[in-house]
């Protein structure tokens, strides 16, 4: 896999990361804590973007990958008392296995059928969590003890540690996704999104590339899930529900599908939209819907997608 990350793209991404790192020194406490949550959720959106934004795989089932990571980490901590690093590793392995196995089955379909299959599998995963409630604690979920949420003596519940842990994971996932989409593999993924038949005609194994993309996407989503469980101390079936498959789609669409930085922007924008609107009205979802309608009318390719189209053509 040859890489061709342009220097200016790399500088841009590193610049964004420097800003994200520096924010912790200036943000008030509330926004500091929220930033950590947004970064973890943005990891999920980055993962979603690999499948949807770059490969054209419109999934309505990514909550199962997020929750695979979450439950892998959470249950190994709760039932086996794994320390945070081991639990995180288990979570990531679970996400890899879940996304790869799911891909082997679901990628036999395409288009609308793929969307429906992802939805059905995800719903099945949600019901499995409920069914095995004796070990998963079902819809109530469970708390991960604070004593298990430590890495090398650092308490992941500490705001400073949590912010920086979320930041490091986000940085790894962001730069990883940049290198992936800039590689020859990434270009084939984009080619599949643009014209699957032509890409096949050029001799590419479409199924293999899609499987790779979906596995990478599910793995990154699972990293987000495992991180959420360990950084915020809760694992629950709510995160496997359909709405948590829709959310990364919205975040990605708002920020700009097929842009590496779009998911971060979209996640932050949607989070604050809900946070601010809910202070004034219980109909805050109306504003979410309104924002999406306006986005489709005015910025159909999302914020950064439009920026790329009109101003910064080199934006990855």
């Amino acid at each position: 896999m040859s890489n061709s990350v342009s220097p200016r793209a790399l500088v841009l991404h590193l610049g964004v990361l420097v800003i994200l790192f520096a924010l912790q020194f200036v943000l008030p406490p509330y926004h500091n804590g929220i930033a950590a949550r947004i970064m973890v959720l943005a990891i999920y959106a980055i993962g979603y973007n690999i499948a949807f934004g770059y490969t054209g795989l419109l999934s309505l089932g990514h909550a199962m990958f997020f929750s695979a990571g979450m439950y892998g980490a959470g249950m190994s901590a709760r039932l086996l008392e794994f320390a945070a690093p081991s639990a995180f590793f288990v979570g990531v392995i679970c996400a890899i296995l879940a996304s790869c196995l799911f891909g082997l089955l679901a990628l036999r379909t395409a288009g609308v059928a793929f969307m429906i299959v992802t939805l059905m599998f995800s719903q099945a995963a949600y019901l499995v969590i409920l069914y095995f409630n004796n070990v998963t604690r079902g819809d109530e979920g469970f708390v991960i003890e604070r004593t298990l949420r430590q890495i090398g003596g650092l308490d992941l519940a500490d705001p400073v540690v949590r912010y920086n842990a979320a930041f490091v994971l986000l940085a790894v996932c962001l730069i990883g996704s940049l290198y992936l989409v800039s590689s020859s593999t990434g270009r084939v993924m984009i080619a599949i999104r643009e014209n699957e038949e032509r890409t096949r005609m050029l001799g590419n194994n479409i199924f293999a590339y899609k499987l790779l993309a979906l596995t990478a996407s599910g793995t990154v989503a699972g990293i987000g899930g495992a991180a959420y469980a360990l950084l915020f101390g809760y694992t629950g079936a709510a995160f496997a529900e359909i709405q948590y498959s829709i959310l990364p789609l919205l975040w990605t669409l708002v920020g700009g599908a097929g842009t590496t930085l779009g998911p971060i922007l979209g996640t932050a924008a949607m989070f604050y939209l809900v946070d601010i609107a809910s202070e004034f009205t219980s109909a805050y979802l109306f504003f979410v819907g309104l924002a999406l309608v306006l986005m489709i009318l005015l910025l159909p390719k999302g914020v950064l997608g439009t920026v790329r189209e009109k101003f910064v053509r080199w934006l990855p």
């Binding site: 008030p28 509330y30 409920l130 979920g141 709510a238 946070d275 809910s278």
Partner: protein, 437 residues
């Protein structure tokens, strides 16, 4: 060796030059500190400022029908407290935030109470998954978090020292206290129909044990998946030897459930016992519910005013705006969640009592507030606690109270039995007081 008095030493060492140096150093240190990551810029609440109670309310999502009534009751209780001088001479300000009945948003809201609104305490959560999802944030922020959930999560020891449930009993004691009366009055052979998620599993586990202790048995367990919208295919699984059908369905499917149950049994039905959770905010006289006539329900707080209801009950009903049938005085079709919402009223007054007992003045006194809460043992029936007397176990942060069994008769619910406090007792499985503050 000559020892100087500290005060003298302090006075003597201060010159204008050294004072300026000191001020400069302090300003520098402050600047460095404030630039440090995660530095918390709390300011102490002034005594003239209101006591802020963060109200985590289910305004949207599956809990919205409960949240609407929780908010009305909370505002009514806060008004009464403020009308009578507030808490420790300070007014109470309720700071509501919608959690969408979602555990992720719930945790964010709790953080918001602590770090943005600078609330003194948080309060009011009902749904168990939101409580459990929010509890870590409350513990990390050291924010006393008073839930009105009736889940067993607090008493189980699974949360942390900052979480309390003083205003409503937990599902374990509710269920356990029902078993003696059910076995003695309705029958010993029980079939249970319950939702196949945690709330239903609590019923399954606790009632199965409780009825066995009474010499009864559960003939069949029939869990209903949460996505189910029709229940016809489940009724044939009910054994013919069933003497009591125990149901605890929740959500919009309950009307269909009752209607289909009636169609299945006709006039030849077993005794039916349910939890009012099935019909909270639902008019008992709704079309389709006729089949419930003669059946029994658990109630924590009688929805309908009873012949022997206390003066406290009358005051409470008037204050929160419900009539003698438990519906809104403004709209008789707007039926209350009577068996849950009283918990908001009682919890706020318990917070008031604990704050006054601890001399609470600011967020710096949260530790004293926690200890004052844990020192509570008895709660007398009163205007502040109209549901009835309670015992509070400071180790498991849970109150124990009386329960009611009501019969559906003539389109209303009449209490036929009230349990004793002891009926709901169980051996505590935790001790939060051993955890550090």
């Amino acid at each position: 060796m000559k020892i100087q008095k500290p005060s003298r030493l302090a006075v003597n060492s201060v010159t204008r030059r050294s004072a300026l140096k000191g001020l400069g150093a302090a300003a520098g240190a402050s600047a460095v500190l404030s630039a440090a990551p995660g530095f918390v810029r709390y300011s102490q609440a002034q005594s003239s400022e209101p006591i802020k109670i963060g109200f985590q309310v289910h305004r949207t999502g599956i809990g919205a029908s409960y949240g609407r009534w929780y908010e009305r009751v909370t505002n009514a209780a806060a008004k009464l407290i403020n009308d009578e001088g507030g808490i420790n001479g300070r007014m109470v300000e309720i700071v509501p935030e919608d959690d969408g009945t979602d555990p992720k948003r719930g945790a964010e809201v709790v953080e918001k109470f602590a770090t943005r609104h600078n609330c003194d305490v948080a309060f009011g959560t009902l749904f168990s998954h939101v409580v459990i999802g929010s509890a870590p944030a409350a513990g990390e922020q050291k924010l006393p978090y008073f839930v009105v959930s009736e889940g067993y999560h607090v008493a189980s020891g699974g949360l942390n020292r900052y979480v309390f449930q003083p205003g409503i009993t937990d599902v374990r004691q509710q269920i356990s206290s029902m078993a003696p009366w059910v076995s003695q009055n309705l029958g010993k052979k029980v079939t249970m129909v319950y939702p196949d998620f945690a709330f239903g599993h609590d019923h399954r586990d606790f009632f199965s044990k409780a009825i066995a202790a009474q010499g009864g048995e559960v003939l069949e367990l029939i869990p209903i998946p949460p996505t189910e919208s029709s229940f016809t295919r489940y009724f044939p699984r009910i054994p013919s030897a069933t003497e009591v059908l125990y149901h605890v369905m929740v959500g919009p499917g309950v009307l269909t459930f009752v209607k289909e149950m009636g169609e299945h049994f006709g006039s030849n039905r077993p005794e039916i016992f349910g939890f009012i959770d099935s019909l909270e905010a639902v008019d008992i006289n709704s079309p389709g519910l006729e089949f419930l006539e003669g059946s029994h329900f658990w109630e924590a707080y009688p929805r309908y005013k009873q012949a022997n209801s206390s003066a406290h009950d009358a005051l409470y009903r008037k204050a929160v705006g419900i009539d003698d049938s438990g519906a809104s005085t403004a709209d008789p079709k707007d039926v209350s969640t009577a068996s849950h919402m009283f918990g908001c009223w009682e919890t706020l007054f318990t917070i008031k009592d604990a704050m006054e007992a601890s001399g609470y003045q600011s967020t710096a006194d949260r530790g004293k507030l926690i200890e004052a809460m844990e020192a509570i043992t008895t709660i007398a029936e009163s205007r502040e606690h109209p549901q009835g007397e309670k015992l509070f176990n400071g180790k498991i942060h849970q109150s124990f109270g009386k329960q009611h069994i009501s019969k559906v008769a003539g389109g209303r619910l009449d209490v036929v039995h009230t349990t004793s406090l002891e009926d709901g007792f169980y051996e505590p499985e935790a001790d939060y007081t051993t955890q550090a503050l």
